[in-house]
């Protein structure tokens, strides 16, 4: 009787020890996988920022004369790392589901042009500022990463800029940028939702199109 209880207890202890080991192994595995994920995403953001800053500094005089050249730089070096289709889905929300394939295509293109312009303008202004990368906080889900950076500015506290990325196939893609906690996706969702309520998706696309045309002619 005593022996049976003892062995039962021992088996119980053994089992929980085994369970503990398994759990630990799983946790470690998950942790290292997450670290690897984060490293890939961080490396992408860091390398891209460094590359673009270098180009902006090298071609500074040229860009001063023709600011329009910046769009080419953004198109070539930054855009390939953004997933505009996913951004458009997030921005339109339920309106994406209701949209036709044609509307979706048009929206992605117009929204992309808008973001290129906004991004390019911001980059020209802050190209000479120092960017620091904050240590990763390991709370992201598998295949997701948030890369936190800070951009120094003259006469004020640094501006936090966070990039949200996800693993698409084997490449990290940016799907949102948060500047001082203001998410591009959430903000555009708010603005676009009220436009759509007013005049429908077609009207929003038309408005964006006009805005882009106007900017292209300037």
């Amino acid at each position: 009787m005593t022996a049976a209880v003892l062995s039962g207890a021992r088996i119980g202890a053994f089992r929980s020890a085994l369970g503990g080991c398994l759990l630990l192994a799983l946790a470690l595995g998950a942790a290292s996988a997450r670290a690897a994920d984060d490293d890939g995403a961080r490396a992408l953001v860091r390398d891209t920022s460094a590359e673009v800053q270098k180009i902006l500094q090298q071609r500074h005089a040229e860009l001063e004369r023709k600011p329009g050249l910046i769009y080419g730089v953004v198109e070539e070096y930054i855009l390939p790392h953004f997933d505009f289709e996913r951004m458009s889905q997030l921005v339109l929300g339920k309106n994406w589901r209701a949209a036709t394939a044609e509307e979706r295509g048009q929206f992605v293109e117009e929204f992309r042009l808008l973001l290129v312009r906004t991004y390019a303008t911001a980059m020209l202004k802050y190209s000479d500022q120092k960017i620091s990368f904050l240590p990763a906080r390991g709370k992201a889900r598998e295949g997701e990463a948030v890369v936190q950076t800070e951009v120094e500015q003259a006469g004020g506290p640094p501006i936090p800029i966070d990039y949200s990325l996800y693993l698409k196939g084997d490449a990290w893609k940016v799907y949102d940028v948060k500047i001082d906690s203001v998410s591009l996706v959430v903000n555009y969702r708010g603005t676009f939702a009220s436009e759509i309520r007013g005049g429908g998706l077609a009207a929003l696309i038309q408005k964006l199109h006009e805005r882009n045309q106007q900017a292209a002619n300037e």
Partner: protein, 281 residues
């Protein structure tokens, strides 16, 4: 955008009280009063006095802020981040501020840019150093003791070594960064939601909560409002602070105005998100 908030009331009140009532005596009395207000507020919370409709509406907003915005990709989200029952009035004031910015503030800031950037950064440092009590007291209210200590140390170092706050040696040599805190954030930290969106004439974006917060900060903790004897001096100092700020700013508002279909909604959503982020940090 345009930050800072105060009213002429502080001076009016001072005229009614003792003429010799000067800083720092007045300052500490107000600080004491503020602590009482806070005590009352927190006591009220324990009593369940936070069941006001505004606060309740707000909790929903806060919860929405905290939820993962990407989870519900095709959800019925109408994109509203903060309640805006006063939208018509807010839009009118927004339009007024817009004109104020383009016709008064921006031209003044452009002219003011003749001063070299280094000098303008020093002016910015000076005002930021003066606002240290606001940050310190609010860090204390939230029991962020390290941040409060950091602000105290920063104030000491920058006021002395940094020549009255014109320079920021605390950051340069001690790596001590300023921690953005205000009474609106303190309220947020204790669970008070932003309430509804509010656009104030001249001062710009605010909310029910942050409007009260700015008033408390301005009235009780802001040396720029408390120390001068004349309202005109306060206005002059605040105007200098604002013009200096705009002169250093890289046309943020212009970019928003050009690129967004509805600048009012854009600014509103950005304000609500930025404030929610500050409370979290």
């Amino acid at each position: 955008m345009i930050t800072g908030f105060h009213t002429g009331m502080s001076t009016r009140e001072r005229v009614m009280t003792d003429e010799a009532d000067r800083w720092p005596a007045a300052y500490w009395r107000r600080l004491g009063a503020a602590l009482c207000v806070c005590a009352a507020l927190f006591h009220g919370r324990v009593d369940g006095a936070d069941a006001e409709p505004a606060a309740a509406a707000d909790d929903a907003v806060t919860q929405q802020d905290e939820a993962d915005p990407y989870d519900d990709e095709f959800g019925e989200d109408d994109g509203e981040i903060i309640a805006d029952p006063l939208e018509p009035m807010n839009r009118a004031i927004f339009a007024f501020n817009d004109r104020l910015y383009f016709y008064v503030l921006k031209p003044t800031a452009r002219a003011y840019r003749v001063l070299p950037q280094g000098m303008r950064v020093s002016v910015s440092n000076f005002f930021s150093n003066l606002a240290a009590p606001i940050r310190m007291v609010n860090a204390l209210f939230q029991f962020k003791l390290l941040d409060a200590g950091g602000e105290l140390l920063r104030f000491g170092v920058n006021t002395t070594v940094g020549i009255g706050g014109l320079f920021d040696p605390a950051r340069k040599y001690l790596g001590l960064r300023e921690k953005d805190e205000d009474f609106g954030q303190t309220l947020g930290n204790y669970g008070v939601g932003q309430g509804f969106y509010l656009v104030l004439p001249v001062f710009g974006s605010s909310s029910a909560r942050d409007g009260i917060g700015s008033f408390v900060d301005g009235y009780y903790f802001d040396p720029v409002v408390i120390v001068p004897d004349e309202t005109s001096e306060i206005v002059a100092l605040k105007a200098l602070d604002t013009v200096n700020y705009v002169s250093l700013d890289k046309d943020t508002y212009e970019v928003i105005k050009r690129e967004s279909l509805d600048p009012y909604t854009f600014v509103k959503n950005a304000y609500a998100q930025s404030r929610a982020g500050k409370v979290e940090r």
